[in-house]
Amino acid sequence: MCLAVPGKVISLEKDGVGQVDYMGTTIVANFSLLPGIKTGDWVIIHAGFAISKLDRKEARKTLKLFQELEKLNPSE
């Protein structure tokens, strides 16, 4: 039930419904719980509802942290 991977919003229709590209598959999602979403945004879908918008800046910060850790521990 818990889709942990984010999907990309490809279209928004009326009644708060839209389409999301979820790893290559198109699924229909309800956006009523997440106002202000635009096409191109990445979202977390749960039980057919978008519950959170992915913050790409924060994702990049985590990636940077991984890189720093890897620099401190070069692979043998």
Binding site: A4, L33, I44, H46, L69
Partner: protein, 379 residues
């Protein structure tokens, strides 16, 4: 080199062997410095799944971290009397349509499961994948009373009650909710205040937190002086959470860390929280294994009573003692024992014929242990 994220797998780096190796190494070194192994509880069944599927558990054990599963499986903690009440209703009442999530139909009770139940004439049990589908069934079946048996934590609760609001707007008078809606923070408090399990810190559920935000767990640090971190569901996400907990212990400064900022905002999801506050009120709910926990369940407010299944249909929700079947699911949910401590695990209780809900649900600790641990047979 700047890491690339492809649109097909935006999380490749969170699964990369090198990232995982480096994080494990860091955790192992810092835990060693603490001088004692740690016992951390992951609340969420989806975390349990990641830990097993990615094979992280034995590596963590070697790094001095024992991970214990908690109560984060809504199918598992919903007590039998909910199922038994709905089984009674659908076997005795005509033209009733029960809609529920797939796992819920397989939970064994002394009255059988919804899957083995033979409904009365004109009645039916249907599996839905989302709350909206339950509503759609009500639109299509005007001759029936449609009951959505909706179980979930804070992640799912907003979408479940959204259906009631929609049903009201669309005048679907024959749509009812049997609400099995559970709150995670009071369950954590119940586990801590019982003092039964020794836990050094928590990995908080990522998507429950996406709805409720960070503050909801503040009592764990303030009152119980235990560290915790909100984590996502990729292997590296969980390891980041564990690293944070280890560091909080080292610094002697327990807090609620958010290691899943790309998804979880400090304030949660205001829209979802507003919908919950508008339509629901807390009550002292019964949990399987954990008993009655103050303000741990949500039910529709009186102004939505027309949609409340237990108030409008012949459906009595009476807490009663479950007969002992030897299933230790209740203790598994509290982190008191692991699935393999149950004598039925892998013997009398297997996914094809489960003896308890922890072997039914995809978020259940017993099913996950059975599916992903090498040699699922009991050793």
């Amino acid at each position: 080199m700047r890491p690339k994220t492809s649109s097909r797998d935006p999380l490749a780096h969170w699964r990369s062997a090198n990232t995982i190796k480096v994080l494990l190494k860091t955790i192992a070194e810092e835990t060693k410095n603490l001088g004692k192994p740690l016992r951390l509880m992951e609340i969420c069944g989806t975390h349990t799944m990641t830990l097993h599927r990615s094979g992280l558990k034995p590596w963590l054990q070697e790094a001095g971290i024992e991970m214990v599963s908690g109560p984060g499986c809504p199918v598992c903690i919903t007590p039998d009397f909910y199922h038994e009440a709905i089984i009674d209703l659908v076997t005795s009442g005509e033209n009733i349509l029960v809609a529920t999530f797939g796992d819920m139909t397989r939970v064994p009770t002394r009255k059988g499961s919804l899957q083995t139940t033979v409904p009365a004439s004109g009645s039916q049990i249907k599996i839905v994948y989302s709350p909206e589908e339950a509503l759609e069934l009500a639109r299509q079946n005007f001759d029936k009373r449609v009951i959505f048996f909706g179980a979930g934590f804070e992640t799912t609760i907003p979408s479940i009650v959204y259906t009631v609001k929609k049903a009201s707007q669309q005048n679907l008078e024959a749509f009812f909710l049997l609400a099995a809606l559970w709150l995670i923070p009071p369950a954590i408090e119940a586990i801590l205040s019982s003092g039964e399990v020794a836990i050094d810190g928590f990995i908080y559920p990522g998507h429950v937190s996406a709805v409720i935000g960070e503050r909801a767990y503040a009592f764990v640090a303030e009152k119980y002086h235990l560290p915790g971190a909100i984590a996502g569901f990729e292997p590296a996400d969980i390891l980041l959470g564990i690293m944070s907990v280890v560091r909080q212990i080292k610094q002697g400064k327990p807090r609620v860390a958010n290691e899943y900022r790309r998804v979880v905002k400090a304030e949660g999801n205001p829209q979802a929280l507003a919908l919950m506050a508008e339509m629901l009120e807390p009550f002292d709910a019964d949990w399987r294994g954990l008993g009655t926990i103050p303000a741990s369940g949500l039910r529709l407010k009186p102004e939505w009573a027309d949609f409340e299944a237990s108030k409008n249909l012949n459906l009595a929700l009476k807490p009663q003692k479950t007969l002992s079947s030897g299933c230790r699911c209740g203790e598994v949910l509290k982190g008191l024992v692991g699935p393999r401590d149950c004598p039925l695990f892998g013997q009398a209780c297997v996914p094809d014929s489960p003896r308890g809900p922890c072997m039914v649900s995809y978020e259940g600790a017993c099913l996950i242990e059975y599916k992903y641990s090498a040699g699922a047979k009991k050793k």
